[in-house]
């Protein structure tokens, strides 16, 4: 989910600090120091495992029990901006705001469908999966495009999340903007370079535990500060705001700020998206966790339980934000109430615990940075260097390329972070394009044997143009009304299909030998009849017994 950090919100936070409401004592610095020592220590500790080869540096040797990647899923998806996003929607909508964070529930179905299929493909990355699933020139074009896009996106996310930390440190300690970005991302890069994914996953586990403890502690502290659970309920009733306790407080079928049509579209996108790969931007990070699990079963449970933690964490936050609403009900500025959870921590925690809270913020920050650093380095190493540059590279060489790629991403993220204000708006638009127009093709590539690389490429290209038209150009000329985002989704889905479906059907299917190899290995769900029958005819699979 895109971050919601705006300059106004950080100024508000700064006002708190500059008024002297937050002062760091010895105990606070001790929390931060011990935490950073443990994180870098994880890199040193697992250095020997990470350097064994490409598989260890990027997938921890594909040998992790389910709870380790699950902790990583949870930790990675708890970023510096996440509490702001959740605070914003809960303050605005009450418990109904929980549904805005329910997009993560694509994992409900994915855990038992696309996760299983992807784990069986053994592809390191989604880009590599393209060449496992599709064949010929189209597949190679897709792999090149996908890996380049993911390297770019990794730098973008690193810059985005990194600059948020830069702003926190600027206002907390008065550091220049670049200092917090460079310092904490660089500390993180030390253990990512040393131990690769082993360092990421072990640190993520620790960070996940610390982050959950901090979230629980600060949120419960906020609930107590508001008078306790019963007081929150009764005060909301007294304010005539008890509708905020109803998660289904719809504003109408199509009207208001929480219409049923939006809710239905959200459920559809989130849940049905689990049949596909890449229907959520989070898929690319999860794909690495899926492949690092030691079995198909471990992969399924890691995704399911990691996301269950994410959703229940949002619930804990939500109750704290309701408490904040009871205390401060008349905040008008979005940027101000998005800071609700941070304000609970800094305003209400006792002396000595502020450092613990700040260590929790660092944990939240580093878990995202480390995951994206290693993920981007994997695309650079596996898909670009090994596949397109030097196919004879040794395992030792690939580990070193992974480390150099980590540095490149780190340096690139500094540039992106510092120019973020200028590029943010159109990059959010680019993310929206990814989500809306290629949602259905991301499913079709999994469930329909006839969907080919040319159709998938066409969907990406078509979507670039259609998104501009539907979102900006046609409304500005009055040809199309300005549609709510959920209606834009449906329009883009239908218009895109009018282009990529003919392209698919007018170009040749993928090579049958290639499809059979993929089918026998991955056993995808959906419409694979001709491939299945050919595999049976060749004696590779037995016919399905009659029910």
């Amino acid at each position: 989910m895109p971050a919601k950090v705006g300059p106004v919100s950080w100024k508000l936070l700064a006002a708190e600090f500059n008024d002297g409401m937050v002062a760091f004592g010895f105990l606070d610095w001790l929390w931060v120091g011990v935490y950073l020592f443990i994180m870098v220590g994880a890199g040193v500790l697992f250095y020997r495992l990470g350097r064994r080869g490409e598989s260890d540096f990027f997938l921890a040797g594909r040998g992790l029990p389910w709870w380790l990647p699950a902790a990583s899923v949870y930790a990675t998806h708890t970023a510096t901006d996440t509490p702001m996003w959740v605070s914003g929607v809960i303050y605005r909508h009450g418990l109904a705001g929980l549904w805005y964070s329910f997009f993560a529930a694509w994992c409900a179905i994915s855990a038992f469908v696309s996760t299983r299929i992807f784990r069986r493909s053994l592809a390191y990355t989604q880009a590599e999966w393209n060449t496992v699933r599709f064949s010929g020139l189209g597949a190679e074009l897709l792999r090149g495009w996908m890996s380049g896009w993911q390297v770019f996106m990794s730098m973008f996310i690193l810059g985005w999340v990194g600059i948020a930390m830069g702003k926190v440190c600027q206002y907390v300690f008065g550091w220049p903007l670049w200092a917090g970005l460079v310092l904490f991302s660089s500390i993180c890069a030390v253990y990512v370079m040393a131990a690769g994914y082993w360092g990421v996953i072990m640190a993520d586990f620790l960070q996940g535990v610390i982050a959950f403890a901090v979230i629980l502690l600060v949120s419960l502290w906020g609930v107590v500060a508001a008078g306790g659970p019963s007081a929150i309920v009764s005060r909301l009733a007294a304010m005539g705001e008890d509708g905020r306790l109803n998660p289904f407080a719809f504003s109408g079928w199509f009207t208001g700020d929480f219409p049923i049509a939006w809710f239905a579209t959200m459920l559809f996108i989130a849940l049905v998206g689990g049949f596909g790969m890449g229907t959520s931007i989070d898929w690319y990070v999860e794909a690495q966790r899926i492949q690092s699990a030691r079995t198909v079963r471990d992969a399924s449970y890691s995704i399911w339980w990691g996301t269950a933690l994410v959703l229940t964490r949002n619930s804990v936050w939500a109750v704290a934000i309701l408490g904040f609403y009871v205390l401060y009900p008349n905040i008008r500025h979005t940027a101000e109430y998005e800071m609700a959870w941070f304000r609970i921590g800094f305003d209400f925690l006792p002396a000595g615990m502020v450092g613990f809270f700040f260590a929790g913020i660092i944990a939240i920050h580093l878990s995202t940075i480390s995951a994206i650093l290693n993920l981007g380095a994997m695309y650079l190493t596996r898909d670009l260097y090994l596949h397109y540059w030097k196919q004879t590279a040794s395992e030792r060489e690939l580990v070193w390329v992974g480390r150099i790629a980590t540095v490149l991403l780190l340096v690139g993220s500094f540039f992106y972070g510092l120019m973020m204000e200028e590029i943010t708006s159109w990059l959010i638009f680019a993310l929206w394009i990814m989500a809306a127009g290629v949602w259905l093709p991301n499913i079709l590539q999994v469930v329909w044997w006839r969907f080919n690389a040319w159709g998938y490429l066409a969907s990406w290209i078509a979507n670039l143009g259609l998104s501009w038209l539907v979102v900006w150009v046609l409304p500005s000329f009055g040809v199309l009304p300005e549609l709510p985002d959920y209606q834009q989704f449906w329009v883009l889905m239908v218009l895109g299909a009018l282009i990529y479906l003919p392209v698919t059907l007018l170009t040749k299917p993928d090579d049958m030998d290639h499809l059979i190899r993929y089918y026998v290995m991955s056993r995808p769900i959906g419409w694979w009849g001709p491939v299945r029958r050919e595999a049976e005819r060749r004696g590779l699979l037995r016919p399905v017994p009659a029910a």
Binding site: S230, V296, D298, R517
Partner: protein, 100 residues
């Protein structure tokens, strides 16, 4: 014919069956109930404890349905994994793969 099959052969477990579809339906329900149940329970609302309890039961039911099948799918697949990994490396390094 049982509602939920508990014993699987590797070949049968590799097929998509009604147990997968049960898990596909029950899993989102579990997420919804757990998410809402935790929030409403923290507010000490009686309905919250009921919803949370249902969420835990739904989660257990989902595992009970799908776990025997997943175990067999995993066990069988891991036997073939080394061979598949070798094919993947050949493809990544542009070496011709003549195996099926």
């Amino acid at each position: 014919m049982t509602w939920i099959r508990r014993e699987w052969t590797p070949a049968d477990a590799d097929e998509w069956t009604k147990e997968d579809w049960y898990a596909i339906v029950v899993s989102p329900l579990a997420y919804i109930l757990l998410m809402l149940g935790v929030a409403l329970s923290l507010l000490l609302l009686p309905v919250g404890f009921l919803v949370l309890g249902l969420g835990i039961l739904t989660t257990l039911l989902m595992h009970w349905i799908i776990d025997p099948k997943l175990k067999v799918v995993s066990g069988e697949y891991e036997k073939k994994q080394r061979e598949y990994l070798e094919a993947l490396e050949r493809a990544a390094r542009w070496k011709e793969d003549r195996g099926e």
